[in-house]
């Protein structure tokens, strides 16, 4: 019975006994209590809750989509759909011989630009440090931005990427998912783009539905016949 997934809200006792509390749970005496609305899971000796709501909290190594908010002479500030702003130092883009006198930051990234970035460092004391110097990272110059709830990102990716692969295959679109809930979709055909966007929005709205994969499949295939 304990292995069963359960719907929980804050304060619900998930289980008692010698378990290790993981994400979104606290240990209160013997009881393991959920701290958020979500689905509880018990894996061997660990207990965790997959949350269904909430803002994005940066985690090291997360891929995020950010929007340039502003810059100083030494760094850019990124809106990463979180309660903290992303901090992108100029050295990351210009290299180690960056000089605040000689180099102008606005020549590389302008306010409003979208970037795919990785959280390089984050702790309680400072704003998250992001980097764009890696493969697949950097400015995004084409595609449409879709905003979904950050807590639904795992659902959009699916088990081992199954959901997103299905959407990409059916629509021929390229989808970049930021862990912060911002998704960039690009596609050569406008129909594919619309269809992919619709599928992503559907995942966002119906994330808790059990047979969502079938519904998405149905939606994509029905449209296939029409075109």
């Amino acid at each position: 019975m304990d292995n069963k997934r359960k719907y929980v809200i804050p304060g619900d006792v998930i289980t008692t006994g010698p378990f290790r509390p993981e994400q979104n749970v606290i240990l209160e005496g013997e009881k393991i209590i959920s701290t958020t609305i979500g689905i509880s899971e018990i894996y061997e000796d660990t207990v965790r809750v997959i949350t269904l709501t909430g803002k994005y909290i940066p985690k090291i190594d997360d891929l995020v989509i950010g929007k340039i908010n502003s810059h100083t002479s030494l760094s850019w500030e990124l809106d990463i759909n979180s309660c903290y702003v992303g901090f992108l130092p100029a050295q990351d883009v210009f290299g180690r011989d960056f000089s605040a006198h000689a180099d102008e930051l606005a020549t590389k990234l302008k306010t409003g630009d979208l970037v795919a970035a990785r959280i390089a460092n984050f702790d309680r004391t400072r704003d998250p440090l992001v980097t764009i110097s890696d493969r697949d990272l950097g400015t995004i110059d084409s595609g449409d931005l879709v905003k979904i709830s950050p807590s639904k990102v795992p659902r959009l990716i699916g088990k081992r990427g199954s959901m997103i692969q299905m959407i990409e295959m059916a629509t021929n679109a390229a989808v970049t998912i930021g862990q912060n809930g911002w998704v960039v979709v690009s596609c050569e055909t406008p129909e594919g783009l619309l269809k992919a966007k619709k599928a992503i929005e559907m995942v966002d709205q119906k994330a808790h539905v059990a047979n969502l994969t079938d519904q998405i499949k149905e939606m994509l295939e029905i449209k296939d016949d029409e075109t």
Binding site: I9, G11, I26, I33, T35, T36, T51, K55
Partner: protein
């Protein structure tokens, strides 16, 4: 507050109160989670004739910056009554009473909300009383707790609240406006049901130590009933009707 209206019968010989309830019965309670698109979390509660809307924002940047705390997030609560929420128009500026209730609700929520996870941020709770009929602080606290959960703020437990009191020398549950005005005592109780801890306890009136004990117990039992409705409101929103 020593029987002002001598004519009103607050409790008749059959144990029926002025609005037809039994002594341990709450008013009709309806809670709905969500509803406001632009807030991160929201809730609406009807507690008898009280109608209250709560919106939660955050965690988000703190403005003004000097209010932020590097160790933990901060909780800010604004309890506000609409000018049309009471019989005679209430002036919309925050009154002494509203400032006090904001503080009391904030302190009743703080033990539950795990703000230490979001240093340098603020969580803002906006409570708008659309219609008031006694016991708004309890109803507001109940709704605020649902709205915080809806916003996904990590919480150790929900906070449920209801007032107990004393009319006609009898301890009753859920004091309404008439009982508050003419009754002998009014005791709002806020309670975390899973952790079994009281987060809000106020008392207006005079009780003997025995009555006090009983009054707290009646309040806590009432909170457990309210908690079930909070649970239902959240489960309805997130898991549909199949959720359990």
């Amino acid at each position: 507050m020593g029987g002002r209206d001598a004519k009103m019968v607050l409790l008749d010989e059959n144990g029926v109160r002025c609005d037809g309830r039994k002594i341990d019965e709450t008013r009709r309670i309806m809670i709905k989670a969500g509803g406001l698109k632009n807030a991160d979390g929201s809730a609406y509660i009807e507690f008898g004739d009280n109608k209250i809307l709560v919106g939660v924002f955050g965690p988000r940047d703190v403005h003004p910056k000097h209010m932020s705390n590097t160790d933990t997030g901060i909780l800010r609560v604004r309890y506000h009554m609409e000018p049309f929420s009471v019989d005679e128009r209430k002036r919309p500026a925050p009154s002494r009473r509203e400032i006090e209730i904001s503080k009391v609700i904030k302190e009743a929520l703080e033990p539950a909300v795990m703000l230490e996870k979001f240093p340098r941020t603020a969580v803002d709770v906006f409570i708008e009383v659309l219609q008031a009929d006694g016991g708004t602080r309890c109803a507001a606290l109940t709704a605020a707790s649902v709205a915080l959960a809806d916003a996904g703020i990590p919480m150790r437990d929900m906070v449920a609240a209801v007032a107990s009191g004393k009319v006609a020398d009898t301890i009753i549950l859920d004091v309404n406006n008439e009982e508050d005005q003419a009754g002998q005592a009014d005791m709002p109780v806020g309670y975390m049901p899973s952790l079994e801890k009281i987060t809000l306890l106020q008392l207006d009136g005079v009780l003997t130590p025995e009555e006090y004990e009983k009054c707290v117990q009646v309040g806590v039992d009432g909170c457990k009933q309210v908690y079930e409705l909070q649970k239902k409101a959240l489960k309805d929103k997130y898991f549909g009707n199949g959720g359990d």
